[in-house]
Subunit: 292 residues, 2 copies
């Protein structure tokens, strides 16, 4: 039986004190998301389907800053970004600054598969997605009254039994951002990248720094041309972001099935499932993976 693997994250950030009940909620939702992906991978499904399903599950959950739980911009309005990338074909799709779509990650899939484009934004993105069946919601759907400074995001990376890598990322962006602001999540190479030759990456953090360092693709570059290990490459890019004054984290998988989940912030919600049957979660930066 061939090996499969999936990692998800629910954002990196300060993560204040969590009550036992809160911590349990986060771990349960992370596990549910990764189980969605695991079910697909375990039955031989594609990594692209798996990452989409995991991110969709996190978008449906109000605990995370993506989809339903998205934070609000300076005008109090939710504007969401998402991207998907298939490492086999390097086909990619993304939407940004969309306000009324229930699942931005599904809209990103539609852009990848039903349009000649990679990135659609704002009203044009919504109109395209709705014309292809995407579900629209009213502003009341979004639960967040959150106006803080953290930038969470959700994402997933997966390796399927055929050896194909994929990545997906979705976010409500920075709370209090300017209207029309687009972060790294929907930008191929910045917040999301997948390439069967190297790795699949989804990032979270102070998005502008991840754009300026082209963070996700720079891991690919460090593997392909720098001959670094996945973990060395991931540490280097987080150091580079730190040197520019940024913070955050990332999940990444390489084609050999090595996995990393690293952050420079105090914590990053994360979970992992693999063909050995284990489901693991972690929240704090130095916390080892735990079965929970």
């Amino acid at each position: 039986m061939k090996r499969w693997l999936v990692l998800v994250h629910g954002g990196a950030g300060e993560i204040g004190e969590l009550s036992p009940a809160q911590e349990h909620s986060y771990r349960r939702q992370l596990r549910r998301a990764v189980e969605q992906a695991a079910a697909i991978l375990d039955s031989g499904g594609r990594s692209l389907e798996a990452v989409t399903a995991a991110v969709q599950a996190l978008e449906e959950c109000a605990l995370f800053n993506a989809g339903r739980g998205s934070v609000r911009n300076r005008q109090g309005i939710v504007e969401m970004d998402a991207a998907v990338m298939d490492g086999a074909s390097r086909r990619a799709g993304a939407v940004a600054a969309v306000r009324s779509l229930r699942n931005p990650v599904l809209a990103a899939r539609l852009v990848a598969e039903r349009s000649p484009h990679v990135l659609l934004v704002a009203d044009g993105a919504e109109a395209f997605a709705v014309s292809h069946g995407a579900v629209r919601v009213t502003p009341e759907y979004f639960t967040s009254s959150y106006f803080g400074s953290a930038e969470d995001t959700v994402g997933a990376v997966a390796l399927d039994v055929e050896g194909n890598l994929a990545a997906a990322t979705s976010t409500g962006g920075t709370a209090g951002k300017l209207p029309g602001r687009v972060g790294d999540s929907p930008l191929i190479g910045a917040g999301t990248y997948a390439d069967n030759r190297s790795c699949a990456v989804s990032t979270t953090g102070t998005g502008e720094h991840f754009i300026r360092t082209v963070a996700a693709y720079s891991i690919h570059a460090r593997l392909l041309w720098g001959r670094l290990s996945l973990e060395e490459a991931a540490r280097q890019v987080l150091q580079e972001i730190d040197a520019l004054g940024g913070t955050g984290g990332l999940i990444a998988l390489d084609a050999a099935g090595n996995a990393v989940a690293l952050c420079t912030s105090p914590g990053m919600y994360r979970a992992m499932a693999s063909s050995d049957g284990r489901i693991l979660t972690a929240i704090w930066r130095e916390e080892p993976w735990q079965e929970s």
Copy 2:
């Protein structure tokens, strides 16, 4: 006296037969744009100012697909994208899907210098730029009735006497594109990248392929980790784009003052000026630089 150098492009594409008068017009406008940048660099000005001035000049000229001459989307509406990046600080700014700004490249500068963000899109980008003094125009300002399939773009890269690199790119995108479509030009690492450690790059072509290959940053990566020459790196990335079915070109400068202007399409409008006082132009793929 220290060396400075600037390259501009006015888009790569099919470029049908040009009458002598047409060819003269294109060369004259390219020369004028590069002269704007040369005047800044020759008086000790910054490369970021030089690339902004060159791109602004090309945006003002109706011959090229950027600013005034921007092509129209599927609804007959102009939607423009632009980006700037400073290689010294790796600060960057960009706007996308803006409809009413006279000079998108100036709006990109405002995002870089007056906001905490890198990329603003659509109405939010316009509102931000106008609130910081950007000039708005009515739809009649745009001269193009063009609905073809070419994707031109304008761009500039420069090295100033202090050794700082910068890049800027501006475009009306693909004619007949979906509303809200964003190409590679405003995406840091795809169509625009500058880094004093390596190079400055501005691309033009079938934008989606340049996004999927993270084209501009991949030249940086091939220099920094692959130890390739600028020309080898540029050829490799254009080959990679060709292998995915794409076409186009790019201009790039490295920190040592090496310059390349390459395309896989039949032509790319381009010009160069340097501290040796020469101003050169070229249009066809294999055409040597000429003083004209």
